[in-house]
């Protein structure tokens, strides 16, 4: 921790630091609150002038319209399709990416072998390839094997996209496990696999959860690849679904806000859950090589 000077100055400074920090962070978080608020306001309050800052009434109209409960609204958004596709693509790809990334991360953390650094670097750099650049050849190749406009084809891509970061995080988490544990496992006659499977993997479950959440969110939020590979609602996920809103002649801002809230829901839960683990996984490599 940072030591502070003692005395009346210190108290005044503390107050100042706290006030500035709170003001800045409330400003940073303002957009999230505004989006959530907008989703539950009547349309007249949103588009009126002069602006109405404090809502007078809250309503679920936007959701009724979205899920087709309002007979007056003809043009519906295919939220159910987006939700289903997003869940399948993110869920399947997370399960596979975390399994494969954990194996790789363990190998990098525990073993000495040839091409250790080039392999690690190569895997990490594959993540630096922009989705736009990847989407063109994937479209051409998937077109030949009939995987365009297919949710599982999308999941297949997300597996590879998510492996590098998972491997990096898991490498960090495995290195936090004391060496003595592994050594005693070997003395007890464990092979490499059973040392991994029976001793180290159970110990790294919190790290695994963090990696899984990150992979899930990356797939859930991905736009560049899905916007090229998904042609219609059979494969479109939330991000291209949300984009479709902006292509209408008049943008329905409240409908957009309502959909955004659904889209943000898993992220809200996850961010609160993994906060602490995430930091230790990301920064472990910084202090111990």
């Amino acid at each position: 921790m940072i030591t502070r000077s003692v005395g009346p100055n210190r108290r005044r400074n503390d107050f100042l630091w706290n006030a500035v920090a709170w003001a800045l962070l409330l400003l940073l978080a303002l957009p999230a609150f505004w989006i959530i608020l907008t989703a539950f306001r009547p349309n007249v309050e949103i588009n009126t002038f002069p602006p109405v800052w404090i809502p007078r009434r809250l309503t679920l109209e936007a959701y009724a319209n979205m899920f087709g409960l309002n007979p007056e609204v003809r043009q519906r958004v295919a939220v159910e399709a987006y939700l289903r596709n997003s869940l399948v693509a993110s869920g399947v790809s997370t399960a596979v990416a975390v399994s494969l990334g954990t194996l790789a991360g363990y190998a990098f953390a525990r073993f000495r072998f040839r091409f250790h650094t080039p392999l690690f670097l190569g895997i990490m750099l594959s993540r630096a390839v922009p989705g736009v650049a990847l989407s063109l050849p994937l479209f051409l190749l998937f077109n030949r094997v009939g995987l365009v406009n297919n949710v599982l084809g999308l999941a297949f891509v997300y597996v590879a996209v998510n492996i590098p970061f998972t491997a990096w995080l898991m490498d960090g988490f495995f290195r936090q496990i004391p060496k003595e544990l592994t050594e005693s496992a070997y003395i007890d006659g464990c092979g490499h696999w059973s040392a991994f499977w029976r001793i180290e993997l159970p110990l790294s479950l919190p790290g695994l959860a963090t990696a899984a959440i990150f992979a899930f969110l990356a797939a859930w939020n991905e736009y560049q690849v899905v916007s090229v590979l998904a042609r219609n609602n059979a494969a479109k996920t939330f991000p291209p679904g949300l984009f479709a809103f902006t292509e209408q002649f008049t943008v329905d801002w409240r409908g957009m806000a309502a959909m955004s809230v659904i889209m943000m829901a898993p992220a809200v839960i996850f961010v609160i859950l993994v906060q602490r683990n995430l930091v230790s996984g990301l920064t472990f490599g910084a202090v111990k090589g």
């Binding site: 073993f111 630096a128 922009p130 902006t246 955004s260 889209m263």
Partner: protein, 318 residues
């Protein structure tokens, strides 16, 4: 500290770094890595090679016969790009955009992390507030900022009117104006980058021990001097981890640009990523788009590689 002892320290640390008592295990680690590696080769490696091939052909999606390679015309797409004024403009825009957003995101996050390290009231609530931008998909970030900066119904103009700074809606056309369009995109992107950078730098700052600062305090160092000569250098590995992670995701800015201005007005906010989409997807010129993709891939990889090397170096010196 003189250079010699510094170097000796570095060397000692380097050998420790390499021999972190990892175990020799023959073929086993390769077996563990290969599934991951095969997936990456299938989804990233092979398609990229294919895209390199396509970039040497005049391929257009609607003309299937145009996917044929002739040595004489192989480099024509690249020549076209080098003579294309919009390509150069989009490259320049991308460089400006990255230079401003990376530096400002880092500087603001550093300031915010130093501020948060001193907060005594409601640390955990503040951290949750800090993480709210992480809950937004990039496409959502673009969407909400497009709405906030909308000239006629936007939050920003509404606030300015309520404060009496402008008289009527539509007075500042944020997304249509030439410098303002770029600036709003940068604001959106910086807002998205701040949380991850700040939590990593904050974790680094909190890990520094009080003893580190004692000698400086005895010598009467000012707050700025303590930051400049102690905190900042000691945070180097954390800084590079944060910057490496940010560089991996830097192309997310595409989503923001696509939804906020889509390269407009008059191509003033066109970036490499949006121009690829325009060439390949909208104009169906896959050959030309692939050539540009390759230029982008090389630039992205170099960008990440730079931070990654700095990270390894900072880690060894530590």
């Amino acid at each position: 500290m003189d250079a010699d002892s510094n170097r000796a320290r570095e060397k000692g640390a380097a050998s420790r770094f390499i021999e972190v008592s990892r175990i020799e295990a023959g073929f086993f680690p390769f077996a563990m890595i290969s599934p991951a590696l095969i997936m990456i080769i299938l989804v990233v490696g092979f398609p990229l090679l294919y895209s390199l091939y396509v970039s040497f052909t005049p391929y257009e999606l609607l003309k299937p016969n145009s996917l044929n390679f002739t040595a004489a015309r192989a480099l024509r797409n690249y020549q076209k790009l080098l003579n294309d004024e919009i390509f150069w403009r989009s490259l320049w825009n991308t460089i400006i955009f990255l230079a401003v957003t990376v530096n400002l995101s880092y500087a603001l996050s550093m300031a915010l992390s130093q501020l948060l390290a001193r907060v005594t009231l409601g640390q955990s609530v503040l951290r949750t507030l800090l993480m709210t931008p992480m809950m937004f998909a990039p496409i959502l970030v673009g969407m909400q900022f497009r709405w906030f900066f909308n000239a006629n119904v936007g939050l920003v103009n509404n606030v300015l009117i309520s404060l009496g700074l402008i008289q009527e809606q539509g007075q500042i056309a944020w997304l249509v104006d030439v410098p303002l369009g770029m600036i709003t995109i940068m604001i959106a992107s910086i807002w998205m980058n701040i949380p991850v950078l700040t939590i990593i730098l904050l974790a680094g700052t909190l890990s520094l021990s009080a003893e580190t600062f004692e000698a400086a305090e005895v010598d009467g160092a000012s707050g700025w001097q303590k930051f400049r000569y102690i905190t900042f250098p000691l945070l180097a590995p954390f800084s590079y981890i944060a910057l490496t992670i940010m560089s991996l995701d830097i192309a997310r800015a595409f989503d923001i640009v696509r939804i906020m201005t889509d390269g407009g007005p008059a191509r003033r906010t066109e970036m490499l990523w949006t121009y690829i989409t325009r060439l390949a997807i909208e104009d169906t010129k896959f050959g030309l788009g692939s050539a540009m993709s390759w230029i982008t891939v090389i630039l992205s990889v170099l960008f990440t590689l730079y931070f990654f090397r700095q990270l390894v170096r900072a880690r060894i010196v530590q």
